[in-house]
């Protein structure tokens, strides 16, 4: 479980996130939703310390991090090893084939042997029906394929938590569906996932928990059902703005 307490990210003249306290249970899928620019990506990037919050603290299982102090480099790396991350787009290593994208982390960071890393990568490609992509370069893949490979690259590190930052927002609907099917499969196998998404249908179908961020504040944390049936004004407004 990840417990975030009083997380604040302040820039010189404004607070991107203000006093957020939230928990992400293991084995569940949490969708972080909210209007554009509300701070949901900043929250996600704070979890694996790609963004450094300016105040607050968190625990990732048994690792405690105090944001108000300088975080030792070794601790940053330790925290990052708990997470795999999938970005919005164009984050596959462009100079490496799909197979090498999947083995780069295990070999360089986990110090696995090349053979073991490749075996693992091939197993993942097989499990998700992507073996034919192994020797292609990222530019030779469709957007949907790129994102699915990016998910496998994260999984190849055996992360405890999978972070996804709007993984489908750059995709056409049919490509989006390919990626969402993979995420659904992962959710069903109780992968711990935290997904920033604009896709409310996906959130409603797949997420166990919703975290709603509005203007840098935590506006809701609770079950998916409670969120979508909420009569709270801010949530109704947000959901209303998302439909047409």
């Amino acid at each position: 479980m990840i417990t975030v307490k009083n997380l604040t990210k302040a820039y010189r003249d404004k607070k991107a996130l203000n006093d957020i306290s939230v928990t992400f249970p293991a084995g569940k899928t949490t969708a972080i939703v909210g209007p554009s620019g509300s701070g949901k990506s900043t929250l996600l990037h704070s979890l694996n310390l790609l963004t450094r919050p300016t105040a607050g603290s968190m625990t990732v299982d048994d690792i405690a991090v105090d944001f108000s102090q300088e975080i030792a480099r070794s601790k940053v790396l330790e925290v990052r090893k708990q997470f795999g991350m999938v970005f919005q787009e164009k984050a596959l290593f462009t100079h490496l084939t799909v197979l090498k994208n999947l083995t780069e982390g295990p070999i360089k960071v986990r110090k696995m042997s090349k053979a073991a890393a490749e075996e693992k990568a091939n197993a993942l490609l097989q499990e998700f029906n992507m073996t034919e992509l192994a020797n292609r370069y990222p530019y030779q893949l469709s957007g949907g394929q790129q994102q699915r490979v990016a998910i496998l690259r994260a999984l190849a590190m055996d992360p405890k938590y999978l972070l996804l930052d709007e993984p489908t927002s750059a995709l056409d609907p049919e490509l989006e569906a390919q990626v969402l099917r993979v995420l659904k499969k992962l959710a069903e196998s109780e992968t711990s996932m935290i997904v920033v998404t604009h896709n409310m249908t996906f959130a409603q179908k797949v997420a166990d928990q919703i975290v709603f961020i509005d203007d840098g504040q935590l506006a809701f944390q609770g079950s998916t059902q409670d969120f979508f049936s909420s009569s709270e004004k801010r949530i109704e407004q947000f959901l209303g703005a998302m439909s047409f």
Binding site: N48, L50, R52, L77, F83, K90
Partner: protein, 232 residues
Amino acid sequence: MTDFFNLAKEYVPELFRAAFQYTLPLTIISFALGLFFAVGTALIRSARLPQNEWAAAALQIVKGIAAFYVWLFRSTPLIVQLFIVFYGLPNAHIALFQSAWISAITVFSLNTGAYASESIRAAISSVPDVQKEAAQSLGMTGSQVYWNVVLPQAARISIPPLSNSLIGLLKDTSLASVITIVEMFYLSQQIAATNYKVLSMYILVALVYAFFTSILAIGQHYLEQYTSRFAQ
């Protein structure tokens, strides 16, 4: 015209010998060292300041030195740099060496390094941030991010400008003649002074330079083709 061919037959082997003895070694050694300075300088200048105040202050000073180095070598003529190092410093008793070779390699490598560092710095900053973030998210350390992700991608982008530097350097080694090195151009001057075929000799040496720089340009073409296998 037959005169020219006869001249070529007679002197091209000598010019090639000078090329292999002086021009090419000067170019290759200076470029290799220059590349080393360039990568170091580019990495320093594009490094982000760490959170720790003391480390940030130290890096700021090193960045200042790197910027000064680039400014110094880009803002003064190469020939003046050669004169200062080979004639000036020994005259003031502050040179540790008085070898024309070492002077030439020192100046050429530092000069090329200053220009090439800007090419590499531009290439590094053109690698999208998300590539670095992706590498960091895998748990790579700062240097792993650079060696495994940023530099390989920056290398491809910097091939055309670095080829410019290399070709420029090969031609600039002709300036070593002013510090007594009898490289290809100096040799052609000496020959012209004895046989009075001034125009023909200089055209001949120009063609020999063009021959070597063309080989480099062809090499650049194949290198670009090879490295663009992973880009549109």
